[in-house]
Amino acid sequence: MNEFLKGSSFKVLVIAVVVLLGLLIYTASAGGSLIASLLGFVSSPMQSVATEITGNVTEFLDIDGLTKGELKELVGSLQEENSALLDRLVEYDSVLRENQQLKTQLHISQEAPEIEMRSASVIGRDPNDVFYGFSINAGTLAGISTGDPVITSRGLVGIVVQASATTSKVNCLLSEDVEVSAISIDKQEVGVVRGNVTMASSGLLRLGFLSSETKLEPGDIITTSGVGGVYPPKLKIGQVQSIEKSETDVSRYAVLKPFEDLSEVREVQVITSFPGQGEDENVVELDPGQDNQEDAE
């Protein structure tokens, strides 16, 4: 034992441990963006190529192909949904026309909001991430910064939590670290969307802080409210699947099914700028202990 402790290899181990502890403390406090950027420069092109090849092979082999029965079922449900949407479109058109007429009469003009976006591909999904976070092939050089919302055509998928030069890390909406102020477009009820590990494992979200008399019902569409200035308003999040009673108090929460399959996203858009960004950042403040206590129970 003494021989081992006096040996050169043990000294190397001690030096390595001290250096790595220093690196750990440095990156934990300073963010380690320089080191991450350097590693990103090396790994990003290789990851992009690997992802591209995998995508092409999957497409070629048609692994995700559906059976005839599944396709029939899908077409049936889509036709039903289409019919319901057409009914709503007729109603929407008449409301829109009326709205425009009223605006003209009242001389109200509105500038189109300007949202700036950057396209990116998902190049990495780490198996160690419980909440399905991912890396994208665009970083600060493409104008992306920490806190930028990440979306697809189907809705909100997450937020950038670390931006290095050529890559960025995105926390998925399923993560407990992500909180989104949300609103029901039909009932105008507000709440906070937050994930937890139980729901994340089923690909679902929790819309909390609803009153006990909530009028939300399955099928209602939930979007971002824009409160807090972190996310632009009216980004689709998901559809109410069920309303449940909170485990700890009289409030209720809604179980949401996101419009996007958050664990399988491949192409995304990063919103780099939007009107109202960064305003009222302290409006939505949650007591993290409250939710944790709730979940633990």
Binding site: S9, V12, V17, G32, M46, Q47, P127, D129, K169, V197
Partner: protein, 170 residues
């Protein structure tokens, strides 16, 4: 010749770790079982450690750990520290107490993976998020078992590499 063989072997290990990093990170490449995918760098580092002396084993453990850190978290150094130290002791164990074969590879892989993923659960999940028990059962345990399956494959691969590029030393 001896040094050249060693250099080529180290390059091969580095390349192996890089390729495994790509494979484990690329979305859709490895199928998810029970919602989890394996962490290939962990068994690879342990397998390399079984055929190398303590200091090279430590170095490759650190490289594998840094790649894990880069892919996973915003904090670099955690996996490098854990894997580096584990690989050092795996190498020491194999050189002083046990032989390098498939059974010892499975044993070393089992305890080293359990320690690494256990530390990951403790430091990255338990103190930060809710329902740690559920996360352990639904994510960490399946991931541990799924990753264990790759130990024999990576052991055989590294035994081949070590055997082919180490004749002068033997």
């Amino acid at each position: 010749m001896k040094d050249l063989n060693r250099l080529i072997r180290y390059l091969a290990y580095t390349l192996e770790l890089l390729v495994l990093f790509m494979v484990q990170e690329t979305p859709g490449l490895l199928p998810a079982v029970a919602g989890v995918r394996p962490v290939l760098l962990l068994p690879a580092a342990v397998a390399i450690a079984m055929f190398e002396e303590e200091v090279p084993a430590l170095a490759f453990g650190i490289v594998a750990g840094l790649l894990c850190d880069f892919g996973f978290s915003r904090v670099l150094g955690f996996h490098a520290l854990v894997l580096g130290a584990l690989c050092f002791f795996v190498s020491l164990l194999v050189r002083t107490r046990m032989q390098a074969n498939l059974v010892t590879a499975a044993l070393n892989g089992a305890w080293a993976l359990a320690l690494t993923l256990g530390a990951q659960w403790l430091f990255f999940y338990y103190f930060r998020y809710s329902q740690p028990g559920f996360a352990f059962r639904s994510h960490y345990l399946p991931k541990y078992l799924y990753t264990l399956l790759f130990i024999p494959l990576l052991y055989l691969l590294n035994r081949g590499l070590s055997g082919a590029l180490d004749p002068a030393e033997k």
